[in-house]
């Protein structure tokens, strides 16, 4: 996001922003680690339904998981295109990534609404509280990612995303893939192992 004080010269030769971003991702590991741990610790402790088995929709979520997974592919292809200096494809892949991300959010919104109709809200029981806060936090990350990608897309359309700015895309990509990786864990632990 911001330009580091010394973009040109670092003691390790590594880009400062990339370094910062990896550390941020490390920090996020503990954020999601705590959220997921809490979900697991509270699994099966709700005193009233609905329970995960009753309500989770595996086929639907499998599709949304796949969508997010493919968005990661689009992301790496976008980065490759930006590095090549290929304007058209970088725009297309950025757009594709953002759209797939938005698609995932759509699935999630649909899921949340359905759950609320079936009687599961934040307040219903421990499952509701832990589930919505965990997946909601993840969803918020995806949302921020989509906005970020769209920003990059606009920059690209303005012609300000040449291959010299590949690092901007690479960092957005790190964020995007990390959010994907978190979902890989959530999908298994929350959906498949319930």
């Amino acid at each position: 996001m911001s330009h580091p004080a010394t973009a040109h010269h670092t003691s390790t030769g590594l880009d400062s922003r990339k370094l910062a971003f990896w550390m941020f991702i490390g920090s996020e590991c503990l954020l999601f680690g705590s959220l997921i741990s809490t979900y697991l610790v509270y699994q099966g402790r709700s005193v009233q339904g609905p329970t995960p088995e009753e309500i989770l929709n595996i086929p639907l979520t499998s599709i949304s998981t796949f969508v997010l997974l493919m968005s990661s592919l689009a992301m790496v292809l976008a980065l490759a295109a930006v590095i090549r200096g290929d304007r058209t494809w970088s725009r297309l892949w950025l757009l594709a990534t953002a759209l797939l991300g938005a698609g995932f959010l759509g699935f999630q919104a649909y899921e949340f609404v359905t759950f609320v109709h079936e009687g599961l809200t934040l307040q219903t029981n421990l499952f509701g509280s832990t589930f919505f806060v965990l997946t909601g936090t993840h969803g918020a990350h995806v949302f921020i990612g989509v906005v970020w990608l769209l920003t990059l897309l606009v920059r690209s359309l303005q012609g300000k995303l040449g291959s010299d700015k590949a690092m901007n895309v690479e960092i957005a990509g790190l964020y995007w893939h990390f959010v994907d990786v978190v979902w890989i864990v959530i999908f298994t632990v929350v959906y498949l192992l319930s």
Partner: protein, 603 residues
Amino acid sequence: MATSVAHQAPGGPAALGSRIWSWVTTTDHKRIGILYGVTAFAFFLLGGLEALIIRLQLASSGNTVVSAEAYSQLFTMHGTTMVFLAIMPLSAAFFNFIIPLQIGARDVAFPRLNAFSYWVFLLGGLFLNASFLAGAAPNAGWFGYANLTSTQYSPGLNIDFWVLGLQVLGVASIAAGINFIVTIINLRAPGMTLMRMPVFTWMSLVTQFIIVTAFPVITVALVFLMFDRFFGTTFYSVAAGGDVLLWQHLFWLFGHPEVYILILPAMGIISDVIPTFSRKPLFGYAVVVYSGLLIGILGWGVWAHHMFQVGLGPIADSVFSATTMLIAIPTGVKIFNWIATMWGGKIKFTTSMLFAVGFIAMFIIGGLSGVMHASPPADLQQTDTYFVVAHFHYVLFGGAMLGIFAGIYFWWPKVTGRLLSERIGKLHFWLTIIGANLSFFPMHFIGLLGMPRRIYTYDPALGLDTMNLVATIGAFTMGLGALVFVVNVVWSRKRGTPAGNDPWGGATLEWAISSPPPVYNFSVIPEVRSRLPMWAEDGMTPVPETPPSPVHVPAGSYWPALAATGIIVMAIGAILKTLLITLGGVAVLVVSIYAWSFEPFEV
């Protein structure tokens, strides 16, 4: 937008408005360091004032200086203030001012992010203390155990202030943590290998790593609590099947690493002070560094030693007891290396050195009582009594705070260009060390003889009036010491001896440049060839007084301060339960982030 040095007329008679504005928009790590230092010290005095009222109330068994409710607010705010608003940001003041100088950098890696951290810290601290004005300061203790913090048992705004305030402060800490890690890894001068870094920089690096990993955990715990209080979730609700121990585990998963966040910077400080005044290099540099790393890692595996009394079962008790005791080994190694550094040296008892030695003497006591806590059966008689209060004041005040004072006296001349008075300084030291022991030593007995902590009144039949009075007298002696320090600061601003580049004959890079350092720090970034560049023959390439060519420093930016304002507005909206204000805060934040990202800003 970059200004060159020539334009930045230092000390020019600028209008007050623009002087203030230049501080608000500053991105200079040195000025931000000063801001951190001044703010945090003010909070320290506030926390100390709270402590004095606490001690006044406890001076005798029947006292009614404050009400029960006010007392709860006082100890909660005292603990919270000292930990989050005094010691941590005082350390941050050193990170800011000293680290770039010690590694030979022009600034930190992300100067505007750095300013942002400060403003978030300042506004977060003010927000937390604004609760006093609302008559609803947090009142559930600094570790705010669930379910006392639930709406059912704490219906007022007290806990709302606490939850929101701590989350805001967490943002500042994590942002600063990442910033300093990158700074230390990436902005070292040529030749400054990791194993040539000053120990203070090393311990800061470990500290930042702990901050970056531990704060997300408390953030999650606080988010749960916030959702419980604002949106009716059931994380800590026993009736819904929730478990009150969840909070305790999450809190102490953060809370124990936090105590090393508080002590490691101080350990780093004295690792630089002691060699300087012993005229000897640090004994076992590598061992001191590795033991710091080990403490940082081991610190993650001991959290449940704060929970022996909840009945975790014999196996968990044994495991956590053993891991806790292990930490005594790397810590002991550090102590022995400091003593060995002085061994055979030529010790000059400056005020800074006195505080460093005071640190060692006091920390040993606090560490040993820590080991007594580490034994679960023994701890069952100690936990939640004044014995624990004694333990953690020996390590926090006797350790962290004395270490910080050592650092203040050590680097003050670098920051201001003038020395603090040694005469007043020594008075400060003796009042502080005598007061601290007078206050905290009897607390061991007060605890073992039956006084729980967090009680605003106690039964005269316990027979503890005299000892409590002594503790109170000690506290006021410390308070006097603090006032003497303030006098010293005021006095030496005008009349202190000019320091020159290197008043102590220090070994590390920061002593190579003028005091106070110019905006751009090093006129030419030196090449470092030794761990003790100032002491070694040809330890570094020379740093000329004036830069051979103009050095560009960035102009300030007000976006960081504005982004911080956005965050605090969000918290204010939450306290007022007004969604519109919160959304306004979000808008300010988003706009600031975008403006900040696209603002041209180069060094």
